[in-house]
Chain length 341, copies 2
């Protein structure tokens, strides 16, 4: 049943020329006669010849393939980034392999090793929240496989980075809560070691400072980037003698958890507690009330990271200085925080 694949060799035999000639004709080399080219091309077409990319990879040590590693593809932010990656890589003739680290350093290492062996031409990566170092990626770069980072970035990364203006997004979100008259604003942040958690926390703190609102340690909680984490911390916050009158969630999952917990506990949003989060638009609109969100240009992040990566791949010399692009976030005000004055 197996239909054998057509190779250059067969075409050569059928046409009574050498493999070299066929190869050259196929690549439209100028040193082949128009006549020969025509015969080769016609037969190739007829036989549905397609070059074997594996043979080419072995030869060139290139695969025309880039890898993307994200913590979790089910997360809308990442799946939308992947959309942007595919958009650019597809249009520039590359293929995209998608991998998840499941937020585990161990999986990230395994995937990295695999991709290095498979000779992907480059990588677009959001590191796992467990990854405190990026030696494995730096190794890759030394092997000549460029990496571009997005979303989660840190100072150890010796490459291009694309991130969102977390600090500013967070500052504005907090400022908005203050403008709504909230005085006791809590923040549920992601893990401490994740850079974006720190930036978002800073933005929150600076806004409180600017408007001289009370800063309380017990209102700044860290948790895993999960819905359950958000729910748990909300219970913790609302159980306090001095309850917050607003909660700002540092990620979509966390914010979903906050929303759920407040509903379970019988609070009304925004009047009892105002809520703001870093959410995807589509997601925030599904909630009741819809959640005021710091939205991130995820698709564009994927596009920009990929453009940087392909440029890196296609220029043979390493750039002297790496670029960090900071894309603007956007505050979308919804019912969860908008109080009728």
């Amino acid at each position: 049943m197996k239909r054998p694949t057509v190779t250059i060799k067969e075409i050569a035999k059928l046409l009574n020329v050498s493999k070299s000639t066929v190869s050259r004709a196929l690549r439209d080399s100028s040193e082949i006669s128009t006549e020969t080219k025509k015969r080769v091309l016609e037969l190739a077409e007829q036989l549905h010849y397609a070059p074997n990319p594996i043979a080419l990879s072995l030869l060139k040590n290139k695969t025309q393939t880039i890898g993307v590693i994200v913590p979790d593809i089910a997360n809308r932010f990442y799946s939308s980034v992947i959309g942007g990656v595919e958009d650019i890589s597809y249009s520039r003739g590359y293929h995209t392999m998608i991998y998840q680290s499941h937020e585990l350093l161990e999986r990230e290492l395994a995937v990295t090793r695999h991709l290095a062996l498979r000779r992907v031409d480059g990588l677009v990566v959001a590191i796992s929240s467990q990854s405190e170092h990026v030696d494995h990626f730096n190794d890759l770069q030394e092997q000549g496989i460029p990496v571009v980072y997005f979303d989660r970035v840190n100072e150890l990364m010796a490459s291009h980075k694309v991130q969102v203006d977390d600090y500013k997004g967070s500052f504005e979100a907090t400022e908005h809560l203050i403008a709504q008259g909230c005085k006791r604003i809590a923040h549920i942040a992601g893990p401490k070691q994740v850079s974006i958690s720190r930036n978002r926390l800073e933005g929150y703190l600076d806004a409180l400072r600017k408007y001289k609102l009370e800063i309380r340690d017990e209102w700044m909680l860290h948790t895993e980037i999960t819905q359950a984490g958000g729910t748990e911390r909300t219970y913790q916050l609302m159980a306090m003698r001095d309850r917050p009158d607003a909660i700002f969630g540092a990620s979509e999952r966390i914010t979903m958890g906050i929303h759920l917990a407040l509903r379970q506990l019988g609070y009304r949003m925004p009047d009892d507690v105002a809520v703001v989060g870093f959410c995807d638009l589509a997601m925030s609109m599904l909630m009741d009330p819809p959640v005021t969100s710091v939205t991130q240009p995820s698709f564009a992040m994927g596009q920009q990271a990929t453009t940087l990566l392909l440029d890196l791949i296609e220029s043979n010399n390493t750039p002297v200085v790496f670029e960090t692009r900071v894309l603007p976030s956007n505050l979308l005000i919804q019912g969860s925080s908008l109080r009728k004055s």
Copy 2:
């Protein structure tokens, strides 16, 4: 800066033996002296030698890699299936490449072509809603690349299939609505050409028949599998002179749209309109009220499809008869349809 990769050739040179010997030692062949093996293994270890999988692929026409094609990775159902696929393939020493068709036949064809050339060992596929034929996959199978289908299956597929008991899930969901006292039950189905849409429609119809409820053509609407589709159709339904008192959505996206539309239009669930859908548990719990859902064992579907695929790959002979596994769905009753009696 580029650190060259270690090859068998170098090890051979350093040890003053032939490449053949190194290769054999590495594969622990019985015809190599323990002494030589030890020297080779030690040096390989020291040099961090890893075999080049591309060379092996070229040689064996095998890649130890399987592909998954789903319409959309952002869909929780599919991302959870992918989790199950990864679980099995990882534990059996295979790698997983994830691709999306974006519900476009054209993209599905491009991906299929690419995977065939890249010599994946097999494929786990949920076809796009545009795909009315599966010739491209049957071609693949003729080339010796087995395919296992899940979720969206049809009669044209000459292979193993893993699906959920759509008909029964749909029947039970409708029965539940009837038990809640609903009399005018509408159904918003997916595209007609998708098999699961048809099965779900049948389950709905048979339940109505069994309990002798009114069946009305204008209460059975088809739409794309999108939230916007669900919203649009709900507006259409609720605008009718004879409004339904329950709406059953054939997919998660559609059901989200129904929920949103009803809230926008000011209806209360479940009292004005009861709602049931095919949703992911985590998703349905986020809604207010939470949505009664026919939940599917998505992770298990991925596991089973992958087990079938790897067995197919590893047994050289095509099985005489293909298996269709039908996994049970589960009705999870929530606030959107549960009326206090």
